[in-house]
């Protein structure tokens, strides 16, 4: 697969070489041949893509006909821009393998049309049957793709005598198999469990007693639970009833009582996903049932975690039930997410879950979970890959994310085929919405992305129904290319010109973390021969400022570097502050990387001018007064890791904590922090900077005070309507 599109310079600050995508790619290719199912709408496309493997498909295929290997942008506007800006395609080495086993692919091709009707049970089951030649993969696929998964009756009955397999219906067995074959992210510990559990699967006796004692039985129990849960999740899809029946049947037949207890818990999410009351009920009910209490309460925790996240809850549930069955004190491995926290201690006052209950809770996104999720099965592979790259942070920064998303969506549009009897405008809107929903699951949208989607939908709604499908798609893609070009690439260039005029000889410019546009401004000023110094202030846990400093030093711009805590001592020598932004809201509030508000505040306290560089496509009509109402929660574990060179890390290293080059060393004091019910780590991503700290906002329209933001917004919306 190729990600095709425009490249705005420095699109992602540091596409780190080992993203989870690549990691998972390795695991995947080792584990099972076809971990990724290509959704029905795209299967034919996937097939062709595979056929011309190595070739690049570009946004508008007609231009790319002759170009093999090297990708080029193809939109007319970009061509006009010439080579200097935004003409090189971002070619990503296919991060997710898309190869289907030939049989499955062929079957899919044949029955593509029917499969798009949700009721086509026969088609999907035959597809599954065809695919059953590759057992784990097919099983996986049937559980991931929601439409076919719930209907797949008996894809892989594993050898008789297995705990779960013997009696379990399709999805349950599929999930158990999938767990066994460990198609998981590098980080999830459950995968390791699964791997261990897989080999003895065949010899396991069915656990008859509620409290099995032997290791094998415990494992069987775990697997049965996992299966039940996966089945429950499958049930959230189109045909919920059948699959949940199947899962409860699986539980009953295998006599794994814990599994039955877990099944109702897993069955809850469709009714109230992410609601804490549901979690409470689940755990309360479970506590009543002696012996099963642990697993079920963990199941309840899972329900609070939201429908899409299987691993966290099930991991906690299975392992704790295993421990309980063995009669040992439950040393449950830390299960991610607020839900499991909830299940552990009744008093969890300032959990991020409570203080920030209104925000999307952080859940580590793994390939495994994405594939299992309802959305993961049906989105375009480009979107899938993009979502994973958002999740692991290899694409970050609001501009980069926006550009990457538009590229992916253009690819969705290009690969889209209107099903017969439907209109392009309506149905494509659905496909785009599904893609966006998936991306939101991976990481909440930025304002810039929201604006891009808004523009796309506006264009889509204005498509002339008389146009042919191909023409309409090309038109749409062209419009989006133009949008990117005008609102992002061109705007950036004009903005940089404006901002450079504010850099004088002898300036000491303070900047915070990494901002692409600020870097452009500084580099451009240096190219013009201005002599100035940059003070890079950096904030944990991302420490993006190091990247900023590296780039500046490479351009021979003298730098200073300090942590945010040292800002006050160094503020005196600063002559102006230049910050990037994720968004500017209509009350003048600037959303930025967490910490930028503190920087602006310190600057304002020392009477230094604060310049915020922000293109107008990141403006938004929303208003916000503090950073709590809208924010994003990051990985709390990132806080527990300190840079490997810090003194605190030295102590940890002496203690034998292994160093992770990406994240640093786990702080010795915080090792095992999840086990402490009263300790929570909170990793906020954004900051709302009050307008009073902002001297001016530099946009492509010039330099304006923050109070003028609504004016620009109004002009924007008027001009959009004029079009």
């Amino acid at each position: 697969m190729q990600v095709v599109g425009f490249h705005v310079e420095g699109q992602s600050p540091s596409p780190s070489p080992n993203s989870i995508l690549q990691d998972s790619l390795r695991t995947i290719s080792a584990g099972s041949p076809t971990p990724v199912i290509i959704p029905p709408q795209f299967q034919s496309q996937g097939g062709t893509a595979r056929a011309e493997s190595g070739a690049t498909r570009s946004l508008a295929p007609e231009f790319a006909a002759g170009q093999q290997g090297i990708a080029r942008t193809t939109s007319n506007t970009d061509r006009k821009q010439g080579g200097q800006q935004g003409t090189v395609l971002l070619t990503t080495p296919a991060p997710v393998s898309l190869t289907l086993p030939p049989t499955a692919a062929d079957a899919a091709k044949q029955q593509q049309q029917q499969q798009q009707q949700p009721g086509a049970a026969t088609a999907s089951s035959s597809d599954a049957a065809a695919a059953s030649s590759a057992p784990p993969a097919a099983a996986d696929s049937s559980s991931t793709s929601s439409s076919s998964g719930s209907q797949a009756k008996p894809p892989v009955p594993p050898p008789a005598g297995t705990a779960a397999g013997s009696a379990a219906a399709g999805p349950a067995a599929a999930a158990a198999d999938a767990a066994g074959s460990a198609v998981t992210s590098s980080s999830s510990s459950s995968s390791r469990e699964g791997k261990k559990a897989a080999p003895p699967e065949g010899q396991k006796p069915p656990p008859k007693v509620p409290k099995p004692a032997s290791k094998a039985e415990r494992r069987a129990l775990q697997e049965a639970q996992r299966a039940a849960k996966a089945a429950g999740k499958g049930g959230t899809g189109a045909a919920a009833a059948g699959s949940s029946k199947a899962s409860s049947a699986a539980g009953a037949d295998s006599a794994a009582a814990a599994a039955t207890a877990a099944a109702p818990g897993a069955g809850k999410p469709p009714k109230a996903p992410g609601s804490y009351s549901a979690a409470g009920q689940g755990s309360a009910a479970a506590a009543a049932a002696q012996g099963l209490g642990r697993s079920a309460s963990a199941g309840g925790g899972y329900t609070s975690d939201g429908a899409g996240s299987a691993a966290a809850g099930s991991r906690g549930g299975s392992s704790s039930s295993g421990a309980a069955a063995a009669g040992r004190p439950a040393a449950a491995p830390a299960a991610a997410g607020g839900g499991s926290h909830k299940a552990r201690g009744p008093l969890s006052a300032l959990n991020s879950a409570e203080l920030f209950a209104h925000l999307q809770q952080y859940r580590p996104v793994s390939v495994e979970r994405v594939l299992r999720s309802k959305e993961g099965g049906s989105v375009h592979p480009a979107v899938l890959a993009l979502g994973l790259r958002y999740a692991d942070g290899t694409i970050k920064g609001s501009t980069a994310r926006c550009v990457a998303m538009v590229n992916a969506l253009c690819q969705v549009i290009a690969d889209y085929r209107t099903p017969p009897g439907k209109s392009l405008t309506r149905d494509l809107m659905g496909a785009i919405n599904a893609s966006v929903d998936f991306l939101v699951r991976c990481r909440p949208l930025s304002v810039s992305m929201g604006n891009a989607i808004k523009a796309l939908k506006l264009y889509l709604s204005k498509i002339d129904p008389a146009e042919t499908e191909e023409a309409a798609k090309a038109h749409l893609v062209g419009l989006m290319a133009e949008w990117l070009n005008e609102k992002v690439a061109l705007a950036d260039r004009v903005l940089v010109e404006h901002a450079v005029s504010k850099v004088y000889d002898g300036d000491v410019i303070l900047t915070y973390a990494y901002s692409q546009v600020v870097l452009e401004v500084l580099l451009s000023a240096a190219r013009q021969g201005k002599r100035f110094r940059v003070l890079v202030v950096d904030g944990r846990p991302e420490l993006e400022g190091r990247q900023m400093m590296r780039r500046l030093l490479q351009a021979d711009i003298p730098c200073s570097y300090a942590f945010l805590s040292g800002i006050s001592a160094t503020m005196r020598e600063v002559s102006k502050v230049m910050l990037g932004a994720a968004a500017v809201l209509s009350n003048g509030t600037v959303l930025g990387r967490v910490g930028s508000a503190a920087v602006a505040m310190c600057a304002a306290a020392s009477s230094k001018p604060v310049l915020v560089c922000c293109e107008a496509f990141k403006f938004h009509e929303r208003v916000q007064l503090d950073s709590i109402t809208h924010n994003e929660l990051g990985d709390p574990d990132a806080l527990a890791h300190v840079p490997a060179f810090a003194p605190a890390a030295a102590a940890a290293a002496a203690h034998g904590t292994p160093a992770d080059p990406e994240r640093g060393v786990l702080s010795q004091k915080l090792a095992g922090w999840r086990d402490s019910p009263r300790l929570a780590l909170l990793n906020l991503k954004y900051d709302a900077m009050p307008a009073e700290y902002v001297t001016m906002v530099v946009t492509e329209f010039g330099m304006i005070p923050p109070s003028s933001v609504p004016v620009i917004l109004r002009e924007f919306s008027e001009s959009a309507q004029m079009e």
């Binding site: 730098c559 942590f563 810090a646 300790l679 954004y686």
Partner: protein, 443 residues
Amino acid sequence: MNLSNLVEEYCTQLRRRQIKGSFACAKKTAEVMRLLITTQRHPDAASLIEDVRTVGTKLQAAKPVELGIGNIVRRVLHMIREEQQQEQLEASEGSSTPGDASKGPQGPGLLSQAFRPGSNLRAFNRAVSLSNLLDTPAMSADGLSSSFSGILTAAADAVAAAAAGDAQAADAEGMRRQQSSRKGRAPPQWSSKNNVIEMLNELLDELDGIEQQIAQQAVEHIHANEVILTYGMSDTTFLFLKEASRKREFQVVVAEAAPRFDGHTMARQLADAKVQTTLIADSAVFAMMARANKVLVGAHAVLANGGVIAPAGVHMVALAAKRHSIPFVVLVGLHKLSPLFPHDPDVTLNDFQSPGQVVDFDVLAESFMRGDEQQPGPDAAAAECLSVEVHNPAYDYIPPHLISLFVTDTGGYTPAYVYRLLAEYYSREDYSLDKELIDRMKL
């Protein structure tokens, strides 16, 4: 005598930063002072003051940023001076009628006496200022001499002796002459020295009890279900919160205080002490301030204007608290009260630490190497490029207008009251310990 060795060793430890924290430094200084006073022979107060000041200056010079050392030295000096004055007063009482002494030269009903009943001897203690100039028409010569510090010490002594007019002073004078003429016979001890030693022991006990004293007030300051924000690790703050948690349910948000990350320690200890704790990055302080009710931090030193020297990053916290109108409370033992004024505090009262804590040297090396490979620019540019600065300050200065309250071992005070505390604990003559500076001023 191994006193000088001990002082040397302590100085070396200070220079090498082997003693961490202002409390440890204060304690150690007090111990050295006690040793100095108990082991050396001093014929009178003046010689003792001279000795203490010499050693104290030396200690302070070993680590100028550790203001606690100077504070303790000043406290000791103040004790000696008080004792000296007490002695003089008693002597004058002995010579004149007892009833006269209380009415004395000042006369009743004056402001200073109205506010400080029964301690008219303190009037001697205070330098001439607008507030007491009119109160003390018969200001003692001693006070004048020290405040103007233009009169020769010998003359002052003579006047003081004349004013006191008793045998003991004359005796001391005689002894000093003996000492100066280097007689082999050991001079007798200053008679009130034991009182000073007793007070010094009290001071040491007081130091040990400071954290408890502060913690005891916790319940008065924390109410139920509060969200308290703190920054980094402070033993005082930890004990304060722990004490409060015995009676109240509340939550603490701890900022981690990079690059030292002692917030991690704080968070872990608080959680272990059964306080609901949330750890955040320093950068999230502004965001979290919207949810906080109160900010509690420890400090490194309190300055004469009511400002505070605190770990780097606290200024940002204080500004955020001010912006959100949240009380910013500084928990501080009075051994940290310093009579210095902040002049250029970001530099003069700061300690810049190893840049290795902040940035990986490899990162720097990498950027330089790449820059060279790509485009070997002109030499001047390359040289300039090499001048990358990495700041790692240890302290911040927080101006008094950002501080709502000091909670000290003797109670709560506002920054505006700090000047008054200074007068209570230190003598004005000792505000500057630097002997050379004083000498220069005299000349």
